[in-house]
Symmetry: C2
Subunit: 358 residues, 2 copies
């Protein structure tokens, strides 16, 4: 793994300076100085999430949205991308673990698809580098969509004339436009449109009324206490890996749910990777409960308490927790209306493989 790792010393570049300008300066800071500090740490959501290797074109987004909602990308025809990353509930299913093929439950909480195209790496253990690579995972995961091999998905999709026509138009240079790579590229192109600007962005851009006084206090607490060591930038996290239980562990002592998952360690078998997970983005966090890789905590205030104890060794006051929660609620954004318009999917044909739940 080449991402920043679990260490109290390895704080993001520029963060010491930012913290210094915040905590070290004589309190109480004015709103203006908080804004200046916040601007040094965070960034407004960008207007787009481009990938030079997979240009976002209107036709590709239309196709990707259809595939995102199409349960034929699961062996049993019961699971679509939207089943676990439901756009009606901020790109998650609000379950600890998602239900996949034949009613099996997965072992890690489904993160939100919203703003996910901005994140690097993907998955709780950071094993995929971008949205294009991520999209290929669940389709072939035996407890998720359970497609047995790439050709199975490709043949099923290619059996549908409307899809063949669309793929040929969207990927004009390709000898075989309907390919597993292109299925993932189309889905990822749609996901690259799922950006959710929030009141916090308006505030960062200068609209002082976009946040309440409590939310501004919460932003200051969030900065001062050091939450920004992991949750910074435009996505407030999702761009690094840290140990869950960095200062106080094991994490299960604080969540109250047994620890069955060692994160990156389960891939690398290196002791330094034990309990290391990708930090989640905090965009829309008030709506993407339950929290953590194991969906063990349902209330945002409790999640704030767990995090401050395990990652910072701090016990926040009730007021501090309430302020931070109010700040995090300012990250609940607006889902693009176009993404919420359900596609009407093309019909299967006699050549389309049947849903298989055997």
């Amino acid at each position: 793994m080449n991402y920043r790792r679990a260490s109290r010393l390895l704080l993001p570049a520029g963060l010491f300076a930012a913290l210094a300008s915040s905590s070290a300066i004589a309190a109480p800071a004015t709103d203006v100085s908080i804004l200046a500090t916040a601007r040094a740490i965070f960034a407004p959501l960008p207007a787009s999430a481009p990938n030079p290797d997979n240009p976002v074109t209107p036709d590709k987004v239309v196709l990707g949205k259809q595939l995102f909602f199409d349960a034929r990308l699961s062996k049993g025809g019961t699971v679509s991308c939207n089943s676990c990353h439901n756009l009606a509930t901020y790109g998650v299913d609000n379950l600890s673990f998602s239900m996949g093929h034949k009613g099996q439950f997965g072992g890690r909480n489904s993160p939100s698809v919203l703003n996910a195209a901005l994140l690097k790496p993907h998955f709780w253990d950071g094993r995929a580098k971008d949205a294009e690579e991520q999209a290929k995972g669940p389709i072939m995961n035996p407890v998720e969509m359970a497609i047995p091999h790439e050709a199975y998905a490709v043949e099923r999709i290619a059996s549908i004339p409307e899809y063949r026509t669309q793929f040929a138009r969207v990927f004009p240079g390709d000898k075989q436009p309907v390919s597993y790579d292109n299925i993932a590229k189309a889905i990822a192109a749609f996901e690259r449109t799922l950006l959710t600007p929030a009141p916090f962005d308006a505030w960062l851009k200068g609209d002082a009324k976009a946040l309440s006084a409590q939310q501004v206090r919460g932003a200051k607490t969030f900065i001062d206490k050091g939450c920004v060591a992991c949750h910074a930038g435009a996505t407030l996290g999702g761009d690094n890996l840290f140990k869950f239980g960095l200062v106080q562990g094991p994490y299960s002592k604080f969540t109250g749910v047994p620890n069955k998952d060692a994160g990156v360690y389960d891939i690398s078998k290196k002791e330094a990777d034990r309990d290391v997970f990708r930090t989640p983005s905090l965009r829309n966090v008030a709506r993407t409960y339950p929290y953590f890789h194991d969906g063990s905590v349902w209330q945002l205030d409790q999640a704030i308490r767990v995090m401050s104890q395990t990652q910072l060794g701090l016990k926040l006051t009730d007021n501090e927790v309430a302020d931070v929660q109010a700040f995090l609620e300012s990250l609940t954004g607006t889902i693009p209306a176009s993404a919420l318009q359900l596609p009407v999917l093309p019909a299967s044909t006699a050549a389309t493989s049947k849903p298989d739940n055997s």
Copy 2:
């Protein structure tokens, strides 16, 4: 059961006259005479599907759509109305049997929710009188949404402040606005908006170009052969009960799939009810495969052959089957764009009961 029953003699009122004006008159009939006959048998889709006991108001439709997409109406939080009656696939899931609570599969094919509010009775065995009564069934069915009792659903929905506010506004006279009856009423009000006008309606109303020559031939064949004995009116069926295997049975001999379901007999235990099912509406039939109560047949042409043999004792020619199929494709309608706009659901609270998949 007070609905019309399995009998070759019990044809719909006016049908003998209609058939006489079609088959008995010297062939070949002109398009004009086919249209006149068709108008005597069918009717364009109405503009609305009212219920005096449950007025369709804009606020109620908004609320009903949210509930339709809300998986919290299932015990495990994994199944919404839309899971089995997916609007992206014409109100069905294109599975023989739907997957419900904890991955269990039901025993009967999920009929489309589109235009369903126009039908009487509901369910394959006709056990519910209208959409309001129907909506209550799957929520409490242990293999579908598995809510254990009415109060469980009511308490979960009432734990969400936005829902409480909406129910109070939508049902202003009620002492307890969030009630199981009102949940069903709101869902049914949304369903009453799911009408899908199709090319066939335009043709019935006088647009001669709305159907191809083959589709018009198919309409004539559909009438002449007697399919209209069960599939007439604005919904082309869905308003009566008939024996599957009326002329030649048992039906499994023709579908090729073992017969495990005796329809109304399973409720009444009367021999006359054996294999009696509610006739399905043929609206959007080209998109609502697989066919029959057991989802045993996947191709529309095969479904036409099975029906003509089991219900009419006829073996249609390949051309006749192709023409009827073309006619049935003219029943594929347009889903209202407003219904396809996914709602963003209100958040759960600490008081909301957790998804329970134990």
